[in-house]
């Protein structure tokens, strides 16, 4: 069912899982909260990677999907007082429907044009939630006082990590199946995939819906963690770029890469904060990103892969001599 080398990868996931589960035992509450944020960015990065990293349909509008998830659950809990076990699945479902809307342009366009159309989706949503029925959406100020799923930093950490880890592992395993190979082939040469007798429309719809599902779940959980939702924070270009840079810096199309990218970016910014509290730390963030990208355009994932291989080969050589 899975491609060769999956077992070796699973060992890596196990080590990552154990280390992350043990983290709250050693880290301060403030650090744990930073990791909660990193987990959510990683969920959004996984969602982007399933769609854009694999199929090559670059989405600039992922905050649109995250926003659909966020606003659906926010409206249902705020106005109707529905419990979260109803509103969150409803949010996921609504985002999956929105994902099919997102999919329509992909039937005719790709590349830069597709990216710009998805950006338009985000901008449209930004405008709509402010102007259309602001008494319901909360307008520019959004909605506050939303209920939490769990309380406390450590509980939120385990919840966000559990979801991120489960989704990440599931998507990583999916990429190791023949379906993953087919989705990846679309990103390399869609015409050739069709010439192999595969229905690329069906495959793309699957990737779009799956990506939307993850974005919807992540978006809904994220706003309940924050306790509020506002259009400015959600449909913001810098939020979009955080997701994009995390994926590209980590290594798009690999799932593990975007997770690494999300952690690297979030931790770098947050750990620099005590030393450089102003926005100057973004200069270091930008420089580090550029240097890493120039050093290895295929991302941190590839850099780690090369390093591990180098150590393993060195060890084997020494053993044989």
């Amino acid at each position: 069912m899975f491609a060769k080398g999956t077992n070796k990868g699973l060992l890596g996931w196990m080590i990552f899982g154990i280390a992350m589960l043990a983290l709250p035992l050693f880290a301060s509450t403030a650090t744990v909260r930073i990791f909660v944020f990193a987990n959510y960015i990683a969920i959004f990065a996984i969602s982007w990677d399933v769609l854009s990293g694999r199929t090559g349909y670059i989405s600039f509008g992922h905050p649109f999907l995250i926003g659909i998830g966020g606003y659906t659950t926010a409206l249902l809990t705020h106005h109707l007082g529905l419990p979260l076990y109803i509103t969150i699945p409803a949010a996921v479902f609504a985002t999956m429907i929105a994902g099919t809307l997102f999919f329509l342009p992909a039937l005719r366009i790709r590349g830069t044009y597709f990216a710009l159309v998805t950006l338009a989706f985000m901008e449209l949503m930004y405008g709509l939630v402010q102007v259309v029925a602001p008494d319901i959406t909360g307008g520019t100020r959004g909605l506050t006082g939303l209920p939490s799923i769990v309380t406390g930093a450590v509980s939120n950490y385990y919840l966000s990590f559990g979801v991120m880890f489960t989704l990440g592992l599931a998507m990583w395993l999916l990429f190791k199946t023949r379906l993953g190979t087919a989705l990846g082939s679309i990103g390399m040469n869609e015409e050739a995939v069709r010439a192999c007798g595969l229905d690329t429309t069906k495959l793309k719809l699957f990737a779009f819906t799956l990506s939307a599902m993850i974005a919807g779940l992540g978006g809904a959980m994220y706003i309940h963690y924050l306790g509020s939702i506002a259009p400015r924070g959600l449909f913001d270009v810098s939020f979009l770029f955080t997701i994009l840079v995390a994926c590209l810096l980590g290594g798009a199309g690999t799932i593990t890469g975007p997770i690494m990218g999300a952690f690297f970016l979030t931790l770098l910014l947050e750990f620099l904060r005590p030393y450089i509290p102003g926005s100057e730390r973004y200069l270091i963030y930008g420089t580090a990103t550029l240097v890493l990208y120039v050093l290895q355009p295929r991302g941190i994932h590839r850099l780690i892969e090369i390093t591990v291989n180098w150590f393993v080969e060195g060890f084997m050589r020494r053993k044989s001599t």
């Binding site: 023949r178 192999c196 229905d199």
Partner: protein, 268 residues
């Protein structure tokens, strides 16, 4: 697909006993224009089961357009395509492949991050999401197909960027063969190859013709390489069929010589 197979069976039963074989691939009156340019004009052709038809003609004559019309990469303005007697006009590109009509491209279109074996995997893949998800790859079968074009074993783990043009053509061919086509359309299969590589591909196709009943349509400018591979040749010029017949008949045709071949063919 089930309807298609059912039709095939019914048609086979209804035509059994007739002496003339039903064409495996047939096109009737294919016409396509791009703005003011008439790329193909009322082109009709047929290829019988197991037969190999060569398509030749000057650059820009409409040969690749004809292939694109047959596979529906371009939709014709007029005309119809039949596969084993069934009209396939309403079938999309991938459904035509599933029905048994596959092609290679003039410029190879590899998947840059996949190995040769993974290319075969994509070619062999069923068009069902659950099958793709829950059934693993058939390593043995993939190797067998790779071996059939001389890309088996360690070579099957190579990536496209490690391959010379000859091997890239084989890769294109093997990915297409993995779809198990009944009719194989080969577009400029010898383009950009060295003499040795042409010989290798030519041998490969000759051997395959001897062992498989696949029907071929081969577009090529390399007439010497094409000659042993085809039973008939069709010449296309300015989007129209100019001549048709055996290789010798066609190259002896004065109009074909004037339009495409030049002089000197009669003497060879």
């Amino acid at each position: 697909m089930n309807d298609f197979i059912e039709n095939q069976v019914l048609d086979t039963l209804s035509t059994s006993g007739k002496s003339r074989p039903r064409p495996m691939l047939e096109a009737k009156g294919l016409t396509k224009s791009f703005g003011g340019l008439l790329a193909t004009k009322n082109v009709s052709l047929h290829v019988n089961p197991g037969e190999s038809l060569g398509i030749i003609g000057p650059n820009g004559a409409g040969k690749t357009t004809l292939l694109n019309l047959l596979t529906k990469e371009i939709t014709p303005d007029q005309g119809s395509v039949f596969l084993d007697g069934n009209c396939i006009d309403r079938l999309s590109i991938h459904k035509r492949v599933l029905a048994g009509l596959a092609r290679t491209y003039q410029v190879p279109r590899p998947f840059h991050d996949l190995t040769i074996q993974e290319h075969i995997r994509v070619g062999m893949m069923p068009n069902r999401l659950l099958d793709m998800l829950f059934h693993g790859a058939d390593d043995e079968k993939e190797q067998e197909i790779a071996e059939s074009v001389g890309l088996g074993g360690e070579r099957s783990q190579r990536f496209p960027y490690e391959l010379a043009m000859g091997d890239l053509r084989r890769l294109e061919l093997v990915r297409t063969l993995a779809t198990e086509p009944n009719v194989l359309l080969l577009d400029e299969v010898f383009a950009g190859l060295t003499v040795g590589e042409i010989e290798q591909i030519s041998d490969l196709l000759t051997n395959r013709r001897a062992t498989h009943s696949t029907t071929y349509m081969i577009v090529s400018h390399d007439l010497k390489a094409l000659e042993p591979l085809v039973d008939r040749v069709m010449v296309i010029n300015f989007g129209e069929v100019m001549a048709e017949g055996t290789f010798r008949e066609v190259v002896a045709d004065k109009d074909v010589q004037n339009a495409y071949l030049g002089t000197g063919w009669e003497q060879e």
